[in-house]
């Protein structure tokens, strides 16, 4: 158990790297920085592989339980403080461990986070080679790895929240990496603030769980949720899961909190690849999948998740159709694909959702890194209208990006085909007409995805060159090996990762008799006995197995062909529209309907709407709403009511002082002090007459008196 016993080292290694960068980074050579930070992540990856391999062996012998390594009790204790009465009347003790949990779900995340993270670290050594703040960048990246791995490996919601906030912080720091650019620091703020809204939901959800179930450990929560003592549709569990989903919406950029992710592209491209495509944004999916035992008890929440996911998918994809910034297309694509994942979770196909996270991590990271390589070659140009004809000039980037595009468009046998098809199939087979509608939305999204991805490929690589400056044209070059190597590795993964979840319907054609595909089987202990309960809301159905249709229906083959057809159609349409576009070309959507084009180009004016309603940066008529409206209102309240009260108090003090001064001047001083003085003066007038001021007169009077006395006594 060499690796498993030291599982805590996986997050700590990058934390160590980040700490070194924090304290000594400024003084280190770039090569040393690379060695430490990349080395830490490589070691973490090796540890992760070791842990997962050992866990798989250990789990076979231990009834497929999750492996827990609890270092110490971090919050609360057994000795009694932090005790409280849980909802059921049981005495609960609030406790959170500094504990790590490994099960198939966290294994998958662990592998692709460390794996993709490692590749992106290597890529960054090339991409950031000429940038300032090299050590700062790698310090943040390592800190991110630490936070993300804490999030994944935590054995309770509280520790997960620590990682959750940590990745949010790193996201903020890295989006604002070029902080001297106003747009970048604005985008960083936006990401942070929008995420806070989601985090508030996550926290509240956590409070509900702690209060209702009396524990925040996954094992306890899952055990209780599966114990059968809670009704399906329990209102408090519904509330808790909805709140958790609010958190997931923030982190995973779902409607209506997706607005930060496209702006997050202000960060360096490797960051977009690592944080805003492959890993961090899937944290919401992870959290919902991790809470699957609760979510299956709350069909309403599941429906919300599915609907929000599907709407986000098509909404973001439609915006992606017309964006011109290469990274923004990918950003909207990410939002859209995350929508797919939530659609899968919402229809109860947790394994399919996780599978899509897994494949998406590879091809989307590859797309972003490829885009970074393109931008690198184009000397910083991001606008696809000024690209074109790069296929021959940067062949490695071109080929790998083409593979990723084929993967995301859903063309077999690339990875995206298997995962996306699985999701669409699961949506279709959920009972109820509404789910067919979700399938239609998903299908339309798949068509759009193929279109905008091939639009990107045509505009960047295949169409005639529209590069504006000769200098840039001349400077186009393939990226260094440190950047192309990760591209190639990711391309290989994008090509083959899908086979891990090779659909059973196809496997049966070649003679397999397994119940489910390999990926789903591996995850089965985590999502134990949860079938897509979704449409079957009776309690007894929890233990149902796989769906009937999956084994028999020829519909699955039909849908598969349909989705390949959608991908091909998207490719064909993109090709017709963009094959030969020259400078100043007109978008086909613009040609068909300018208003629709303007709406899509302006992202449905959502940011503007938010400016009107939530931030209040824009006025609605004469009224300002939102945060700034609140600010103005409270400013008015402060200036008029609070300050008015202050001034009134001041005025009253002044009046009281006037009265007091009058009293002092006329009563105290007048009667009390000056009165006796006046009386004394009045009395002095007659006595003063006796004094005439000549000393010798006084002496004469004295003498006369003396003589008088003498005469009196002698002659009386």
């Amino acid at each position: 158990m060499l690796f498993l016993d030291h599982i805590y080292l996986i997050p700590l290694l990058p934390a160590f790297g980040a700490a070194i960068m924090f304290f000594f980074g400024r003084r280190l050579q770039k090569s040393t920085v690379s060695a430490i930070c990349v080395g830490a992540v490589v070691l973490a990856f090796i540890m992760a592989c070791g842990c997962v391999l050992q866990y798989n062996v250990w789990a076979d012998a231990n009834n497929h339980q999750p492996y827990q390594k609890i270092l110490y009790t971090w919050l609360g204790s057994d000795t009694g403080h932090l005790n409280y009465l849980a909802k059921g009347g049981t005495q609960a003790s609030f406790q959170a461990d500094a504990g790590f949990l490994l099960d198939p779900l966290s294994s998958i995340w662990l592998l692709f986070v460390t794996g993709v993270g490692m590749l992106i670290h290597i890529y960054s050594t090339g991409y950031m080679a000429h940038e300032g703040g090299y050590y700062r960048f790698f310090g943040y990246l390592n800190l991110f790895m630490f936070s993300m791995l804490t999030l994944i490996l935590a054995n309770n919601y509280v520790l997960m929240f620590v990682g959750w906030e940590g990745v949010g912080l790193c996201s903020y720091l890295l989006i604002g990496f070029y902080f001297h650019r106003k747009s970048a620091s604005d985008a960083a703020n936006k990401a942070f603030i929008v995420n806070r809204i989601g985090d508030a939901g996550f926290l509240l959800g956590m409070f509900f769980i702690a209060w209702y179930l009396g524990s925040l450990r996954y094992v306890d929560v899952n055990h209780l949720a599966r114990s059968g003592q809670f009704q399906i549709g329990d209102p408090i569990i519904t509330a808790a899961t909805l709140l958790l989903f609010v958190g997931a919406c923030g982190k995973s950029a779902q409607l209506p909190l997706y607005v930060w992710l496209p702006d997050a592209m202000e960060g360096p491209t490797p960051v977009s690849a690592l944080i805003h495509a492959a890993t961090m944004v899937t944290a919401g999916v992870y959290m919902v999948a991790r809470s699957n035992a609760l979510f299956v008890l709350a069909p309403t929440s599941m429906k919300v998740v599915a609907v929000v996911g599907a709407l986000t998918a098509i909404f973001a994809a439609s915006i992606g159709l017309v964006q011109n910034d290469i990274k923004r297309v990918l950003a909207y694509s990410t939002v859209s694909q995350l929508g797919y994942m939530f659609l899968a979770l919402g229809v109860g196909a947790f394994a399919a959702g996780v599978f899509h996270v897994f494949t998406h991590a590879f091809f989307k990271a590859l797309l972003f890194l490829g885009a970074g390589s393109v931008i690198h070659a184009m000397s910083g140009e991001q606008d696809m209208r000024n690209m074109g004809g790069l296929a021959r000039k940067i062949p490695v980037t071109y080929r790998t990006m083409l593979i990723a595009t084929l993967a995301i468009a859903g063309i077999p046998p690339f990875a995206g085909f298997f995962s996306k098809d699985e999701i669409l199939w699961q949506a279709w087979t959920s009972e109820g007409v509404a789910y067919h509608l979700l399938w239609i939305i998903g299908y339309a999204t798949a068509l759009m995805t193929a279109f905008y991805m091939f639009r990107l490929i045509y505009l960047t690589f295949w169409s005639p060159s529209r590069v504006t400056s000769h200098e840039v044209e001349h400077h186009i070059h393939e990226s260094p090996a440190s950047m192309t190597m990760p591209l190639v590795v990711l391309a290989v993964m994008s090509l083959f990762a899908g086979f891990l979840g090779f659909p059973q319907s196809l496997a049966r054609l070649v003679g397999s008799h397994a119940e489910t595909n390999r990926f789903e089987a591996y995850l089965a202990p985590v999502f134990a006995k949860e079938a897509p309960v979704f449409a079957k809301e009776e309690p007894g159905q929890l233990a149902a197995g796989t769906k009937e249709e999956e084994k028999t229906s020829p519909t699955e083959y039909l849908l598969m062909i349909l989705s390949v057809g959608a991908a091909a159609l998207g490719w064909y349409m993109a090709g017709r529209s963009y094959r030969n576009v020259g400078r100043g070309y007109i978008e086909p959507i613009e040609a068909i309907s300018p208003p629709v084009y303007a709406t899509l180009l302006n992202k449905y004016y959502v940011d503007e709407g938010y400016d009107y309603v939530f931030t209040g940066r824009k006025k609605l008529g004469d009224v300002r709403l939102g945060a700034m409206g609140l600010g103005e209102a409270s400013s008015w309240f402060d200036a008029n009511v609070i300050d008015g009260a202050v001034n009134a108090a001041g005025w009253m003090t002044r009046v009281a002082a006037r009265i007091s001064a009058w009293w002092d001047k006329w009563i105290i001083d007048g009667i009390g002090v000056n009165g006796p003085a006046i009386i004394a003066r009045m009395l002095s007038y007659p006595t003063r007459l006796l004094e005439w001021g000549l000393v010798q007169w006084y002496a004469l009077v004295m003498t006369a008196g003396l003589v008088g006395f003498v005469f009196y006594y002698v002659y009386r």
């Binding site: 004094e691 005439w692 001021g693 000549l694 010798q696 002496a699 003498t703």
Partner: protein, 108 residues
């Protein structure tokens, strides 16, 4: 030779006293007024000593009260002269005069 009796002393004392009083009442110069006050005091001293001598004739040599009292008066006179001259100098500095008729601040 006429015997000098107590009466003679008393007459001399009365004369000195009268001289002093006239001086105090009539002279404007403070210095002379002070000197006149000394005359008055010494007139008194003369009486005291004379009476002391007279009492010694009756009660014996130990009847020294009058003489002792005279010594007290001399001491007192010295102190008074010092204080009086001090006031005089302060007064002179302010008024540049030593005439008592010009000292008339204490009137209504």
């Amino acid at each position: 030779m006429l015997d000098i009796s107590t009466l003679h002393y008393l007459v001399l004392g009365a004369a000195l006293f009268l001289l002093g009083v006239i001086g105090v009442l009539t002279r404007r110069n403070v210095v002379i007024v002070l000197m006149s006050i000394e005359l008055i005091l010494n007139a008194v001293n003369l009486n005291l000593v004379a009476f002391s001598r007279y009492w010694q004739g009756i009660h014996g040599a130990s009847a020294l009260h009058g003489q002792v009292f005279a010594i007290f008066v001399i001491t007192d006179a010295a102190a008074e002269a010092a204080v009086g001259l001090g006031i005089l100098i302060a007064f002179f500095r302010n008024k540049e005069t030593v005439n008592v008729d010009e000292v008339n601040l204490l009137k209504w």
